[in-house]
């Protein structure tokens, strides 16, 4: 599974979900998979993407919100898992691109295997799953209770393509319009 396969599975399964992507690979993959859809692409602020997605989820409880996160990203902001466990937004799904490395800075390895799904399960109130195939990912996206955390194990580190250096003004305007209109 590549990062773009994960992002494609998300937008195929939930085409009207509001997505929030962390800097680097996640933003590039979501841009590629959604044809630059009206999602919230972070260009920096490493460690803040899950908190941002949780804020969106609680602001618009009628919409499904998907956070697409790098594993280094979530390691930096992991304490937000405790907040998700505390407040349990029922419309939030977090998907982690698990390749064990810091991709955008050159693929340096994480110092430890994060075990995010196991941690989420241990905290309580978050359904966790670790998946190795696209089919298993799509099943988890459809069937896990929420909030959920899915670790998608990547077998290939190919760079998704589009630049992760987004224009904040354009991103913000498109996302705000998306969040304000329509329902899931």
């Amino acid at each position: 599974m590549k990062a773009t396969d994960v992002a494609l599975a998300i937008v195929d399964t939930y085409p009207t979900a509001l997505c929030v992507s962390s800097l680097g690979t996640a933003t590039s993959a979501l841009r590629a998979a959604s044809d630059d859809g009206p999602h919230f692409y972070l260009g920096a602020a490493m460690g803040s993407a899950l908190a941002t997605a949780m804020g969106v989820a609680e602001a618009v409880p009628g919409r499904l919100v998907v956070a697409l996160l790098g594993d280094g990203e979530l390691l930096m902001g992991a304490s937000t898992l405790w907040s998700v466990s505390a407040y349990r937004p029922g419309n939030l799904v977090a998907v982690v691109l698990s390749d064990g490395g810091y991709n955008i800075t050159g693929g340096q390895p994480l110092s430890a295997q994060p075990q995010f799904a196991a941690v989420a399960e241990a905290l309580g109130g978050i359904a966790g799953a670790r998946v190795q195939t696209e089919a298993a990912l799509r099943t988890a996206l459809r069937e896990l209770g929420r909030p959920s955390l899915i670790e998608a194990e990547l077998s290939e580190r190919a760079w998704p393509g589009p630049s992760p250096f987004v224009d904040p003004a354009r991103v913000q305007l498109a996302f705000a319009a998306n969040a304000a209109g329509g329902t899931r």
């Binding site: 460690g47 804020g55 969106v56 902001g77 907040s83």
Partner: protein, 180 residues
């Protein structure tokens, strides 16, 4: 038998009530914060006004959470102690500022006038400079008399001009852990 006045708990200092009521009147819907003694009466009053409270794990997370609320059309406020500003700078400087997500900040000062803890001093001394370097204006509240004006002005900067701005709760207001 105690009179009704004696049996009531002491009223919160006026500035804390005024700040909370002004935030609520300006449409604030949710408050993200890391707990602090001086902030607690503001938070209690916000809750009385129907504002949702979110106690989060660190100040950076508060800014990220508030950013999410803001991009989804809500009006959040972030409350923190000045010692937590260092934790929040990445999310402020790399998310709130470049995406122009006007967030009102309420910062309870430590490390300045009357501080007894040496470890609080460097960040307290640097708070308004750090904010200013990121282009964020800070406005001090030192008395009850200006609490409403400053709070209202900061919410206007945030929600209408789209600029982060900070209400600085100066030590002269009192209400701190050490009773100063």
């Amino acid at each position: 038998m105690a009179s009704s006045e004696e049996s009531e708990s002491p009223a919160a200092p006026a500035w804390q009530v005024v700040i909370a009521d002004t935030l609520a009147a300006r449409g604030v819907t949710v408050a993200a914060y890391v707990p602090d003694t001086r902030l607690q009466p503001i938070l209690s009053r916000l809750a009385d006004n129907g504002v949702c409270l979110r106690s989060l794990t660190r100040e950076e997370e508060c800014v990220g959470y508030a950013a999410g609320q803001r991009i989804a059309g809500q009006r959040p406020v972030v409350l923190m102690q000045s010692s937590g500003l260092g934790n929040a700078l990445n999310a402020i400087g790399s998310l709130a500022v470049p995406y122009r997500l006007g967030l009102p900040l309420v910062v309870s000062m430590r490390g300045t006038l009357g501080e007894a803890n040496p470890s609080q001093v460097p960040l307290g001394r640097a708070t308004t400079s750090l904010l200013g370097t990121l282009g964020i204006q800070s406005f001090s509240v030192r008395s009850d008399a200006v609490a409403e004006q400053v709070t209202a002005g900061v919410t206007t900067l945030a929600f209408e001009a789209g600029e982060c701005a900070a209400v600085i709760l100066e030590p002269e207001l009192g209400g701190g852990r050490e009773g100063n």
